[in-house]
């Protein structure tokens, strides 16, 4: 598998949010402003990449070695939780503005299924070595970011429009996501 295919596949064809349904909570929650969306993308990229690398190593050198693959879920999530908390602590110190902007959503990365989902997908894929997994993780993070940023742009614009009362917020966000998913189906079979 070439890296290009992994990248195109993860970003466009099987976009993690729009076609795999992972990470919907932050997608709906942190997408009201472009600036926070960008911050969130950064945080997710960071956590997702490191988490995938660590869990891949864990899977290969511990779980598979001792034949205790069934502990996958629990070890992976532990690793991710610890990572997120680390990022949170470090960010609070290093960049307080970013910390404030991401606010409650940093801990939410723990409960962002995208991170765990990608880690599991990468670790269980037969064709992925460490390098492929890393690329896969980054590409998925970019796919997540792309969806999130496009989406936040649309939501910022919708702020100015006269949306029907009951459609405000989540319903409309979901419909926009639906139409986006519809549009992204055009990429079918590209990779």
């Amino acid at each position: 598998m070439t890296y290009i295919l992994i990248i195109i596949g993860a970003i466009f064809v099987n976009n993690i949010v729009l076609s795999k349904f992972l990470g919907i909570c932050p997608f709906l929650g942190v997408s009201k402003k472009i600036s926070t969306a960008v911050g969130m993308t950064g945080a997710v990229t960071f956590v997702m990449t490191i988490a995938t690398i660590v869990t891949w190593l864990l899977q290969k050198y511990v779980l598979l070695k001792f034949d205790i693959e069934y502990l996958q879920t629990i070890t992976f999530i532990l690793v991710i939780a610890a990572l997120v908390q680390m990022v949170e602590i470090v960010l609070k110190k290093v960049s307080p503005p970013l910390y404030q902007a991401l606010g409650i959503f940093l801990p939410l990365i723990t409960t962002n299924c995208a991170v765990l989902g990608v880690a599991i997908l990468a670790a269980t894929s037969k064709d992925f070595g460490l390098m492929e997994s890393t690329v896969f993780a980054i590409a998925n993070a970019i796919g997540f970011g792309l969806a999130l940023i496009i989406f936040s742009g649309i939501r910022e614009q919708l702020e100015f429009s006269d949306v029907p009362e009951y459609m405000k917020g989540a319903p409309l966000a979901l419909i926009v996501a639906g139409i986006l998913a519809l549009a992204f189906m055009g990429f079918a079979a590209l990779a």
Binding site: S161, M167, I179
Partner: protein
């Protein structure tokens, strides 16, 4: 003397209102519609009529009974949505599917967002792509022009030139042999080929486009940049290997490029505000269309390309502003 009115300047306003702009678009589309009626017969008539009526009726019902606002059907935008939806489907599409398409276009694509001008995605295309993915069989069987004009659903069908090409290339055929199964460029130019009922005649669509340009309803930026991008990309591939790639003119004349570029990418609500933004938007549509045509699963990608670029419009609007007078360099 009654009470004086006090309001802010300016105290003058232009005549052309929203309605006039919309009706100009409808007028520009009429020649193409007439040609479709000639080529496809009753099918085109039924499909267009159903789409337009359904779009207008849904708009009226939803605005009146669900949104509880003043009905807005006479501004003409729903008519355009219906018309363009019809233009984007084969002329043998069953009535109930068209009605579903109109409901999705108006209900999901437009009124969910608050109606005229608020929708980020082109309603007609939302309806069209929704149908394409829901009913791939019905949406991809194209009646052959000039045959069986009296028949609606059971018209004889064939493939579009793009479909023939994609199929042929997949089987490793050479371009020159594929071209024998495809109408000549001249036929494609005036519109005798398989396809959605309104997209076939480049000639009439361009004429309508010139009318709109002349009336200042649209500007050249979006269609122009789409055409140039498509020509450039297809040209490069064609020059590299003319046996495995179609020529630029073929790409320009087939499929929905003309309809999409002139009438759908230019939709006000869903395109960027600045001229530079419009050009970026057009280039994006051109590139995505060609990517899907060359490598994707679908033979044609204009609809998807426009929808995807619609999604980028708010970001384009942020990044590409008109040049500020006296901007500091």
């Amino acid at each position: 003397m009654s009470k004086l009115v006090i309001s802010q300047s300016p105290h003058l306003h232009t005549k052309p209102d929203v309605k006039k702009l919309m009706y100009a678009v409808i007028i520009a589309l009429l020649p193409s519609l007439a040609l479709s009626l000639f080529f496809y017969g009753v099918g085109a008539l039924v499909v267009t009529a159903v789409a337009v009526v359904a779009a207008v009726v849904f708009e009226w019902l939803i605005v009146k009974f669900i949104l509880k606002k003043e009905p807005t059907i006479w501004d003409g935008s729903a008519i355009i949505t219906g018309l363009l939806l019809a233009f984007n489907v084969p002329s043998n599409l069953p009535i109930w599917i068209i009605i579903v398409g109109a409901l999705v276009a108006i209900g999901v694509g437009k009124l969910s967002f608050g109606g005229l001008g608020q929708n980020p995605f082109n309603p007609a295309l939302v309806g069209r792509v929704f149908l394409l993915i829901s009913f791939p069989v019905q949406m991809t069987s194209w009646p052959t022009p000039l045959v069986n004009r009296g028949v609606y659903i059971d018209a004889i069908t064939g493939a579009t030139p793009l479909g023939v090409m994609k199929e042929g290339l997949k089987n490793g055929e050479a371009m020159s042999s594929i071209m024998q199964n495809i109408p000549s460029h001249l036929q494609m130019f005036y519109g005798q080929m398989g396809g959605s009922l309104g997209e076939i005649s480049a000639l009439l669509l361009i004429l309508g486009g010139i009318y709109l340009l002349f009336k200042k309803v649209i500007s050249w930026h979006i269609p122009g940049s789409i055409f140039i991008t498509v020509i450039l990309i297809s040209g490069i591939f064609w020059l590299m290997n003319p046996e495995a790639n179609a020529d630029p003119l073929f790409h320009l004349l087939t499929g929905g490029i003309m309809l999409g570029a002139i009438y759908m990418a230019t939709d006000y609500s869903t395109s960027p505000m600045s001229n530079s933004g419009k050009i970026v938007f057009g280039v994006g549509i051109g590139v995505l269309t060609m990517v899907i045509r060359l490598w994707g699963a679908y033979p044609e990608g204009v609809s998807f390309a426009i929808l995807i670029m619609n999604a980028f419009v708010p970001i384009i609007n942020k990044g590409f502003k008109p040049k500020l007078f006296g901007a500091k360099k």
